[in-house]
Symmetry: C2
Subunit: 163 residues, 2 copies
Amino acid sequence: MMVEPESIYFQDHMPGNVCFGCGIENQNGLHIQSYWKGEESICLWESEPRYQGWVKIMNGGVLATIIDCHCMGTAMAAAYREEGRLLGSEPYYRYATASIKLDYLKPTPNDYPVTLRAQIVEIKGRRTTLTCQAYSEGEMTVRAEVVAVRVFEGEQERGSPFT
Amino acid sequence: MMVEPESIYFQDHMPGNVCFGCGIENQNGLHIQSYWKGEESICLWESEPRYQGWVKIMNGGVLATIIDCHCMGTAMAAAYREEGRLLGSEPYYRYATASIKLDYLKPTPNDYPVTLRAQIVEIKGRRTTLTCQAYSEGEMTVRAEVVAVRVFEGEQERGSPFT
C-alpha cells in the first residue's frame, strides 16, 4: 500500500473539486473523506439532522451521494495505484458515475457515524466496477454496485478537471 | 385522474415529513413537488450551486435523491388512487426505498430546471415498482428503476408516520 506524503484522503488530491458530496471547495457540501485500508477503501461520515429521511433515519439519497462519491474517489485512487503514481500527480484522472444500484437492507441511523467500505471488482481500461457497503454500528444497511468511467485525464491547471 | 381539493402536490399531503428530499418540514431540504399528469407523475425541480457535482453539472447523488423521493411520493399517490381515496386521508400510507438503479446517460446541467417523469410498472401488495427519467431541456439524462415498499399504514396523529 502506497502511503501518501501529504494526506491519506483521496479528496485532498482533487483540486478544484466543487462536488456536493466530496468537493473540498464546496462550502456547503458533505465533505466525505476516503482512504485505503488494505485492498478496501474506507469512508467514515457523520450526518446532520437536515439529511434525515425519516426522523433520525438517514435519507436514502444522501446515502447514495456519499456512496457514489466514495466510489468515484476509490476508482481514481485505484488507477493511480495501478500506475504506481502518487495521488495528485499528473496526468490528473477524474471519474464520473455511469450507473449505481443500491439495495437498502435496513434503516441507517442518522445520528451515528456511518462507515462505507468499497472494493474494486474490475478495472477495464477507463471503466471501473466497484462494490460498496454502508455500515452503522457494525450492521450492514446498504449494499451497492457502482460503475465508474474515467472522463478526464490531463495536465491542466488546478481546478480544470472540474470545469 | 383524481383532482386533489387543496393541492395537487403529493408532498403537501405528508404531514410531519422531515425528509431532506421531499419533506415540507425540513427547512434545509430540496422540497420537491410531485403531481399526476395522466398516468405519469411529474416533478419540476431547480437546483442550487451547492448541489453541483462538477462545475454547472448536477451532482449524481442529488439526482438520486430527487428521483428516489419523487418515486416514493408516486408510489404513495398510486396506492391512494387505486383505493379511490384522496391524498392525506386515513389510513396514511408511507413508502420507503427497497432498491434503486440509476443509469447516468449524460451530464445534467445544474443551472436549468430538471424534469422528472415517473411511471408505475407494477403494484403488488405493499411493493410498487416504478421507472423514472430525468430530463434537461428535453433531453433524457438519467434513467432509473425503483422498488418502493409500503412501510407504514395507520391512523396516527400528524407527524407520526415519520417518527
